[in-house]
Symmetry: C2
Subunit: 224 residues, 2 copies
């Protein structure tokens, strides 16, 4: 019975996600669903990204959190349009939550929309919100065993960002082992080693985002 | 409709949790539900705990994970009875999962049962599994903003363990701010600063566990 309920919920969610996806495609917006554990560094990565890209791309952010507007406040400081969704305890964003706030954004002047999901390495990977791609941020302080223990989010993500590599000397994280496990789950997926503290590796992340926006541009859309 | 389904699921879970709780009470076993994000250091804390307490307490561990037996293997190395529950993608343990494996443990010779939940700071806090108390482990690398962003797990937990304090010099974690927020959510809750790498603060954790086991002993039970 619970399985049937879950299938119904996922089916309804997929229908709304398809509507969102059609809206983004029509405008030519690249929408990214950014996932990771609490404290993986998703918001820190977005702060760096806003500073680096807002000069030449039209950006907006949707922030998902159970409670508080702490993350949205951090993004707003970069003078980029940002909407906070509070799930009131809910463990993931769903397509309906995202659809409901889209009207608060000017979709006619947007290249890149990043949707930061609730901090959770499990549930968000099960719910599409209409994104063109998913990305996962794993802090190396979480340990190299995480890909095999939480495979779905690594399988679903078009890119894996290994964050806080400045802390590698103080941990027992085995980079080779982690990359081998990620490749087992998702062959050929790009894996970036970055630090939002030192800036290491962020250029590759920006280049990946620019490439995705460029691909959307080539595909056309009202905003182009 | 989804709210009704959720209430039904929680109601059924609570009934089974009460059965588990009655079993533990009858035997005089202190059962602890240990929660935290992926990579907070729950298993590392248990490794230290097994080494420190197995000489004078009768211990067992139930390990909850989506996939793999990595954590159970780590505990088994300490020659302590351990059962792995794999949720196959499920985001939390529930009371029925725990009840199903109890027969694999010798409950007639047990003082302390620690149930390590799935790595997730959200969903596990909503499901009692029959424990006498909950505990939460937060790695300081996750950031000092986490208590207010994930309040339920801090509210439900009888003790908060701030882990990986050896990494404090390399982060911007504000210990005073974190403790203030935890006290707002759960006044008077004990908050321990520990490092499983250096051993700092672990004595207070062991003392807390011994105290809880002693209280169960005073309350009687077949194992006493």
């Amino acid at each position: 019975m619970e399985i049937q309920v879950m299938e119904d919920i996922l089916g309804r969610n997929d229908a709304i996600a398809a509507e969102n996806q059609a809206i983004f495609a029509k405008k030519g917006i690249f929408a990214l669903n950014l996932m990771g554990s609490p404290g993986a560094g998703k918001t820190a990565l977005l702060e760096k990204t806003m500073a680096a890209l807002k000069g030449d791309l039209r950006l907006a952010v949707i922030e998902g959190d159970l409670f508080t507007s702490k993350d949205a406040d951090r993004i707003a400081a970069y003078d980029v349009p940002v909407i906070q969704i509070n799930t009131s305890g809910g463990c993931h964003l769903d397509a309906a939550m995202v659809q409901k706030v889209l009207q608060q954004l000017d979709l006619t002047a947007l290249d890149l929309l990043i949707i930061e999901n609730v901090g959770n390495l499990v549930c968000p990977a099960e719910f599409n919100v209409g994104e063109a791609a998913k990305a996962v941020v794993l802090s190396i302080t979480e340990g190299d065993d995480k890909p095999l223990k939480y495979p779905l989010v690594f399988k679903e993500s078009a890119i894996t960002i290994l964050n806080k590599v400045d802390l590698l000397p103080y941990t027992n994280f085995d980079m080779a082992a982690a990359k081998k496990d990620i490749a087992k789950i998702h062959p050929q997926v790009p894996v970036l080693e970055v630090s939002c503290t030192t800036g290491q590796g962020l250029d590759r992340w920006y280049a990946w985002l620019r490439q995705k926006v460029e691909e959307k541009k080539q595909a056309g859309g009202e905003n182009r």
